[in-house]
C-alpha cells in the first residue's frame, strides 16, 4: 500500500472510532458500563480510559498473533486475551489509581463481558496488521471514552451542578484545575445521578447524534446493533 492509501486508511479508522461508528451512540454496544459509571464526568472518563487501554492492548496482541491463532480456537483465545488484559488493568488501577478503582469497582472486571472489545477483535483486529489494529482499538476506546464523559458530564451538571468533581482525587493532583461548579448545590435534579437518569440521558443523546447525522446529510443509523 502506498503512503497516501495508508494515511487514508488511518484517518478512516480514527474518524470511525471517534464518531462515525461510535461504540455507544452508533453501535449501541457496551451499555452496562455506559449507564452505571456515568454518574459524573470523571467516573465516565476513568471507565472509558480503562476500556480504551484494554481494547488497544488486546487489538494489538490479536493482530500480532492473528496468523498463529487457528479458526477453531479463536473465540476462547480472544476472550482469554481480553481477560488477561483486564486483569492487568485491574491490578494496575488497584495499585496506582486506588480511588478510581474503588469507584469503578465491579465494572473493571466486567470489561471482559463488554460486547465492544470482542466485537472489534472479531471484526477488525483479526484481519488487519498490527498497527492499524492498535489504532482501531485505541480510537474505538477513545470514542467510547468521549461518549461516557459526555453522558457523565450531562448527568453531573444537571444532577449535582458540578463538573469533573473529584477529578483531583481520582486522577491526580494536576487535574484539580478542571473541577468546577456550574450550578448552586440545591438546584440539582437528583434523578439524573440515579439509575433512571442514566437510561433517559443515554436515550436522548442517541437522538442528538441522529440529529447531528441528519444535519450532516448522512443516513440515520436506525437500529444500531439491534433492531427494534
Amino acid at each position: 500500500m502506498s503512503n497516501a492509501e495508508n494515511s487514508n486508511q488511518y484517518s478512516t479508522i480514527v474518524k470511525d472510532g471517534l464518531w462515525d461508528n461510535n461504540g455507544v451512540f452508533s453501535m449501541l454496544l457496551g451499555m452496562c458500563p455506559t449507564m452505571a459509571m456515568t454518574t459524573s464526568a470523571t467516573n465516565g472518563f476513568g471507565m472509558g480510559l480503562a476500556t480504551a487501554v484494554v481494547m488497544a492492548a488486546s487489538s494489538y496482541l490479536v493482530a500480532v498473533f492473528r496468523n498463529q491463532i487457528t479458526t477453531e480456537v479463536r473465540i476462547p483465545v480472544y476472550i482469554l486475551i481480553v481477560a488477561a488484559m483486564v486483569t492487568l488493568v485491574d491490578l494496575a488501577m488497584n495499585a496506582w489509581m486506588h480511588e478510581l478503582y474503588k469507584v469503578l469497582g465491579l465494572f473493571i472486571p466486567l470489561i471482559v463481558s463488554n460486547c465492544l472489545p470482542l466485537a472489534r477483535l472479531e471484526a477488525f483486529a483479526a484481519k488487519q496488521p498490527a498497527f492499524p489494529a492498535l489504532l482501531d482499538g485505541l480510537f474505538m476506546g477513545l470514542g467510547f471514552t468521549i461518549a461516557l464523559t459526555v453522558i457523565g458530564a450531562v448527568r453531573e451538571i444537571i444532577g449535582s451542578g458540578t463538573l469533573f468533581a473529584d477529578a483531583s482525587l481520582l486522577l491526580g493532583n494536576s487535574f484539580k484545575v478542571i473541577e468546577m461548579r456550574l450550578l448552586p448545590a440545591d438546584m440539582g435534579v437528583l434523578m439524573m445521578i440515579l439509575p433512571p437518569g442514566g437510561f433517559i440521558v443515554t436515550g436522548l443523546l442517541v437522538v442528538v447524534k441522529r440529529v447531528l447525522d441528519l444535519r450532516a446529510g448522512k443516513e440515520i443509523q436506525m437500529a444500531g446493533a439491534h433492531a427494534v
Binding site: M31, L110, G197, G203, V206
Partner: protein, 193 residues
C-alpha cells in the same frame, strides 16, 4: 428464614440486577421485543446464572482463596461460565432433543453477558456462605427475568404507537426503561441489608 427472605427481596427487587445495578443491559435491549421470548430467555438465564454462580463460588472458595490465586479471578470465572453454558446446552440436548430443538430455534443464544459475570463477582465480593450465595444468585436472576418480561410487555405496546422518527427504536426504549427504573426505585424503602 426471615434472613433468607430479606436476601431474596433485596437481590430481586431493591437492588435489581438490571434497573439498579445496570448489568445485562445488552440482552435487556436485544431480547425484549416479545413477551414469550423474554420469558423463555428469563428461564434460561435464571438457570445459567444460578448454576454458574454456584460453580464460581466453589472455585473461589476451594481453588482461588485456598491457593492465593485471587488475581486469576476474572479469567477463571469467564472459563467457568463459558463451560457452564456449554454444559447446560449439552445436558438439554441429551435429556430431550425435542426441547433442545425448540429452544434452539426460538430463544437467542446465551453468551457470557454482564449479568452472569456480574452476579458471580457480586457474590464473591460479598463473602457469602454457600446457601446465601445460591439464594442471592437465584433471586437476582428472578428479578432479572421479571424485569425482562415487564419491559417486553411495555415494548409490545410501544410498537403499536406512533413514535417520532428520530426517537424510534433504541432511544424511546431507553426512555421507557428509565421510567421503569423510576418505578422500581419505589422498592428502596424496603431497607434492611
Amino acid at each position: 428464614m426471615k434472613e433468607f427472605a430479606m436476601i431474596m427481596i433485596s437481590a430481586a427487587l431493591v437492588n435489581n440486577v438490571i434497573l439498579a445495578r445496570f448489568l445485562g443491559l445488552c440482552s435487556f435491549m436485544g431480547v425484549t421485543t416479545r413477551i414469550d421470548t423474554a420469558a423463555g430467555m428469563g428461564f434460561a438465564t435464571t438457570f445459567v446464572i444460578t448454576v454458574s454462580s454456584m460453580a464460581d463460588w466453589a472455585v473461589q472458595t476451594y481453588l482461588l482463596d485456598a491457593y492465593g490465586l485471587g488475581f486469576l479471578r476474572t479469567v477463571t470465572f469467564i472459563l467457568v461460565i463459558a463451560s457452564a453454558v456449554q454444559f447446560t446446552e449439552m445436558t438439554i440436548k441429551k435429556v430431550s432433543p425435542e426441547l433442545f430443538q425448540m429452544l434452539g430455534i426460538y430463544l437467542p443464544l446465551i453468551t457470557t453477558n454482564c449479568a452472569v459475570l456480574g452476579v458471580a463477582l457480586l457474590l464473591v465480593e460479598g463473602h457469602m456462605s454457600f446457601i446465601n450465595a445460591t439464594l442471592f444468585a437465584f433471586a437476582s436472576s428472578l428479578g432479572y427475568s421479571l424485569v425482562m418480561v415487564i419491559f417486553a410487555g411495555l415494548r409490545e405496546r410501544l410498537a403499536l404507537v406512533q413514535v417520532p422518527r428520530l426517537f424510534a427504536g433504541p432511544p424511546i426504549a431507553f426512555i421507557v426503561a428509565g421510567m421503569l427504573a423510576m418505578a422500581f426505585m419505589g422498592f428502596s424503602g424496603i431497607a434492611a441489608s
